[in-house]
């Protein structure tokens, strides 16, 4: 009998909705909520759900390190062959939680991890390299369908059956590529000339390497009249008030914040700091202006080098942050700039 450990949030465990999202991690023997259906499906594979972990989405997103640590400790000594989280549908925090715990479990216990998310769930971009994320549905109305898909892949992984790749198995491309011998041994010369003939004559062909699309942003035109321009400051270096009020993550950020600088001439160390986990923070903690140059911008303002300064600076963390998340955060920030008629932005990356 093979053992599977599952992870679900407080909502699917029947504990409650947003009001119960701070629910602390709990490891239960056997099933809870949708993992009963997973357990049922696994019977055919001579496998069972031995434990179900329940954790509130808020708790996981605001106390990630603690939540992960507590779950890993609780699983110590448990023999299991596979870890399944979700399905998370389009629920963003839930998807990220499934990814965070799945990644940690895979690293510590060396077992495969399956979850399921809708294509728009931010967890897909963040974690698809780390685990099997099934292409899932929009909402829990399709619970059965998503659970069935996860169970099907689980069966193959538990029995050691060779996987047929992401498209055939229904999980997102993980960007993990290895060499294989073709079942029908066609030489590369013949494959290439066949592809050449197909491409030259407008017939369909399948490239053996799909190049990911680049999303290039053109460089903005220069500001013509700097003397009257309104400038805003932004950074991906994680400069925040010392208590990090917006709970911006130190890596793989999904959150951003904006902080009022209208009443100060510079950012003081001890009042602001960096929470970026991708470089030595000592210099930026001592003088946060080395990343977010409020001091220089205020001086330049007095000297009349530019027109005026937008009263807030904006912060997120760049390391490990996906292009998709970065784009979403930009779309959320832009209205504030437009409303205040900002002409130009200084974006500091680290």
């Amino acid at each position: 009998m093979k053992n599977v450990v599952c992870y679900i949030n407080q909502f699917f465990a029947g504990i409650g909705g947003e009001d119960k999202a701070d629910f602390e991690p709990e490891v239960r023997d056997g099933v809870a909520g949708p993992t009963a259906a997973i357990n049922q499906g696994l019977k055919a594979q001579d496998a069972q759900v031995c434990k179900t972990i329940v954790c509130g989405d808020n708790f996981m997103s605001t106390h990630r390190d603690e939540a992960v640590q507590r779950i890993l400790e609780a699983l110590e000594g448990t023999e299991f062959d596979l870890f399944m989280a979700g399905p998370a549908f389009q629920a963003g925090r839930y998807g990220v939680a499934c990814g965070e715990i799945g990644k940690a479990v895979a690293a510590k216990f060396k077992v495969p991890v399956i979850t399921s998310m809708h294509p728009e769930n931010p967890g897909v971009e963040m974690f698809k390299k780390e685990m099997y994320i099934m292409v899932g549905s929009h909402s829990a109305g399709s619970m059965k369908q998503d659970v069935d898909a996860m169970v099907k892949l689980a069966g193959k992984l538990l029995s050691g059956e060779e996987l047929q790749g992401p498209e055939a198995e229904g999980y997102y491309q993980r960007g993990i590529r290895h060499q294989v011998w073709l079942k029908e041994p066609v030489q590369a010369a013949d494959r290439a000339v066949d592809m050449l003939i197909a491409k030259a004559t407008g017939k369909p062909y399948v490239s053996e390497l799909i190049i990911p699309k680049k999303d290039l942003v053109p460089i903005a035109p220069a500001i013509k009249d700097l003397k009257h321009a309104r400038i805003a400051l932004m950074n991906t270096g994680g400069i925040v008030p010392v208590d990090n009020p917006d709970k911006i993550q130190s890596a793989s950020a999904t959150r951003w914040g904006r902080y009022d600088i209208s009443g100060m001439d510079r950012l003081e160390g001890g009042v602001f700091k960096t929470i970026h986990a991708g470089f030595d923070p000592a210099a930026a903690n001592a003088d946060p202006n080395v990343i977010m140059p409020v001091d220089v911008m205020k001086e330049f303002l007095k000297e009349g080098k530019y027109g005026s300064l937008h009263p807030y600076f904006y912060t997120t963390v760049g390391t490990g942050t996906t292009q998709g998340e970065a784009k979403r955060m930009a779309k959320e920030i832009i209205p504030y700039l437009e409303e205040d008629h900002v002409d130009g932005v200084i974006m500091v990356s680290t």
Partner: protein
């Protein structure tokens, strides 16, 4: 240009009193051949061995593979290199088929050298395990590079290039079992039916990254680092104009045997007049400076466009830095309106998670992929090693290492090995033999 390849199919190779070919049996006079090799005073130690598919033998460090041939009219087999310049690709060349002549270092290997297992599970990693091979195992007095990672391997490589012709001479005056005639009409004088078909060029990017002479592929004896892309007749490539060099992790290399038998050219010939109009080969290169890469891409696109190519097949002898040439050339051709297919290997790392090419562009929408240079390979001990197994870990072969915190040494005390595909001799077979591809997991 008309080339006749007269083929003699070698069924077995033996040592005997006289070097001769008779009824499918190639007999080699070992002492006579070794005396020929020792004419180069830089060869200090030499032996000949015969290995066949299935033999439980491991060869390392392998430096080169050549097909034994002779030009019936007496021209040099590799004009401008083993003899005076003459036109390659014309007339009659007699070839000993189903076999190759391999160069193996008796002791010392380098970055560019590789490994061949003739039998067992390691045999599938190279093309040359499928051939019968005469193996020259030699050492030289090239002290200046004995402990260098990058080796020119001049003496031992030249020895097999010359010995290939010496052995091939035994069929010079015999009637071949088969004559393969390779002929293309001049580009602007083709029959109207052929001209209606899509016209294609084959763009080859042979290895030319080293600034110092002696390491790169040669074209009629000329270092490819010093050439600009030029239009060549495919027969020239098949008939000794191109000679493999001594640089690049081994699995990404093309041996001289590969040029002589280039399967892409053979297939394009087969399709010529049926599905396509084969215009010829554009021989480019893989120089390292960005300006040189851009200049080569401009030349290739211009030549293809001027010839009226509708489609192109681009292939690179290498990975990493050469990916920039590969991608740049494909983009230049696509921008010129030429539908282009790329043929390459990938470097996705041992975990498969790295970007497959160093340089990529969305215009590369038709790629054939032949393998992952950094795939980890573990193989059991072999009863016999020809060369020196220690070379794999000791001498900086691109897929071997002396020690690793997690994996241990490449060469273990019991003779088993762990290595990257990088050191498999011409293992990714980018020339076109590869029956490997890359798959998403």
């Amino acid at each position: 240009m008309k080339l006749e390849l007269g083929n003699f199919y070698v069924k077995d190779i033996l040592f005997g009193d006289q070097t001769k070919y008779e009824k499918g049996i190639l007999t080699i006079n070992k002492e006579d051949c070794l005396a020929f090799v020792r004419k180069d005073p830089h060869i200090t130690e030499a032996d000949l061995r015969i290995v066949k598919p299935g033999d439980m033998v491991r060869l390392v460090p392998v430096k080169e593979a050549v097909e034994c041939r002779v030009k019936v009219n007496g021209d040099a087999l590799f004009p401008g290199y083993t003899g005076p310049l003459s036109q390659a690709g014309n007339g009659r060349t007699h070839c000993l088929k189903g076999m190759s002549l391999l160069a193996v270092g008796r002791h010392w290997g380098g970055f560019q050298d590789g490994l061949i297992d003739m039998g067992g599970e390691g045999a599938k990693y190279t093309y040359f395990s499928q051939l019968k091979n005469i193996v020259l195992v030699a050492d030289t007095d090239e002290e200046f590079e004995k402990h260098e990672q990058q080796k020119k391997n001049r003496a031992i490589r030249e020895a097999v290039h010359k010995l290939a012709e010496y052995i091939g001479s035994c069929v010079k005056d015999q009637e071949p079992e088969e004559v393969e005639t390779l002929e293309l009409e001049p580009v602007i004088r083709r029959d109207p039916e052929t001209e209606k078909l899509p016209s294609v060029v084959y763009v080859m990017q042979p290895q030319s990254q080293m600034e110092e002479m002696g390491y790169n592929d040669l074209c009629y004896g000329w270092d490819c680092n010093h050439m600009l892309p030029t239009f060549m007749h495919p027969n020239e490539v098949l008939d000794g104009a191109m000679i493999s060099g001594s640089f690049m992790p081994c699995s990404s290399k093309w041996a001289t045997y590969d040029f002589q038998n280039c399967p892409v050219i053979k297939r394009l010939y087969k399709e010529h007049g049926k599905t396509l109009n084969f215009l010829g080969v554009i021989m480019s290169n893989l120089n390292v400076a960005l300006e040189q890469k851009e200049r080569s891409a401009l030349f290739v696109a211009q030549i293809a466009k001027s010839l009226g190519a509708d489609a192109a097949l681009v292939t690179e002898e290498g990975y990493g830095n050469p990916d920039a040439d590969f991608t740049g050339c494909i983009v230049a051709l696509e921008d010129a309106g030429i539908k282009t297919v790329g043929l390459t290997n990938e470097c996705t790392g041992r975990d498969g998670k790295s970007d497959p090419l160093v340089s990529m562009d969305e215009k590369e929408n038709a790629i054939v992929s032949t393998g992952n240079v950094s795939e980890l390979i573990e193989l059991p001990p072999m009863p016999e090693v020809i060369g020196e197994l220690e070379a794999l870990g000791r001498d900086g072969l691109s897929g071997g290492w002396a020690g690793d915190e997690i994996l241990g040494p490449s060469v273990r005390p019991d003779g088993s090995i762990i290595m990257e595909n990088n050191a498999m001799f011409c293992g990714d077979q980018i020339i076109g033999w590869s029956v490997k591809t890359m798959k998403e997991f």
